[in-house]
């Protein structure tokens, strides 16, 4: 892509690159943060990034399937957060701890 177009015309690749950066940012959060809740949030960030690329593909390829997938991803993300936070709250109630490194003591 010629550099003059880069800022003047927006296409699929712009959205994809944005989505990729968001995804990688979320991944960095998952890998590097210590607070379990923040890790869950980073997972949400990754899912959002994926959603963005789904919608972008859907738009530029003229198919609805991508948007449906986003719908499903959102549902599953919400389910995941519900269960994840429920587990975190249970652990927090017992141990007053949300550090992810603490969780390795929970193995049986």
């Amino acid at each position: 892509m010629p550099s003059s177009d880069l800022f003047l015309e927006v296409g699929l690749s712009h959205y994809l690159v944005l989505s990729a950066i968001l995804f990688v940012a979320g991944m960095a959060g998952v890998l590097l943060r210590r607070n379990a809740i923040v890790i869950l949030m980073s997972v949400e960030l990754m899912l959002n990034a994926v959603n963005l690329s789904f919608v972008a593909f859907s738009h530029y390829m003229g198919q609805m399937d991508g948007q449906i997938m986003v719908f499903f991803v959102m549902t599953i993300a919400a389910a995941e957060v519900s269960v994840g936070l429920a587990i975190l709250v249970s652990i927090f109630k017992r141990y007053k701890e949300v550090n992810i490194r603490f969780f390795e003591h929970l193995k049986g």
């Binding site: 719908f71 959102m74 549902t75 919400a78 389910a79 957060v81 519900s82 936070l85 429920a86 709250v89 109630k93």
Partner: protein
């Protein structure tokens, strides 16, 4: 383009709020003492620790809200397209599949009520 309008009004309101709060702070009288900065707890001496015991119910409500909210949102596309489906002759199929979905919804709600997850006190 509505999106631009939305962004515009959002920023405008935010700036308006900031400006007006700032302006109000310029005009107000200022007579500070240490008591004034304490948290207001009905006049009794302030407990330093925010020793709040918050019922898990709040968060349980929020979780159930998310789940039911999504189920409701699933009904929106159905609601808009239901008449179109009826016109194209697929109404019965879509109607039944939604009834199944609603049955799941109702079962969930019924279960939550029965399991006393929605009881307060």
């Amino acid at each position: 383009m509505p999106l631009g309008g939305v962004i515009f009004i959002t920023i405008f309101v935010a700036i308006f709020g900031v400006v007006i709060l700032f302006a109000a702070s310029l005009f107000g009288t200022r007579k500070y003492d240490s008591v004034k900065f304490e948290s207001y707890e009905c006049g009794i001496p302030v407990q330093e620790k925010k020793d709040t015991k918050i019922s898990v119910k709040f968060y349980l409500t929020a979780i159930l809200f998310i789940l039911f909210d999504i189920e409701i949102i699933f009904m929106y596309p159905w609601a808009t397209t239901f008449r179109d489906f009826i016109k194209s002759g697929e109404g019965g199929y879509v109607f039944i599949s939604m009834l199944v979905f609603l049955a799941i919804f109702i079962f969930g709600l019924f279960w939550e009520v029965k399991s006393k997850a929605l009881e307060w006190e």
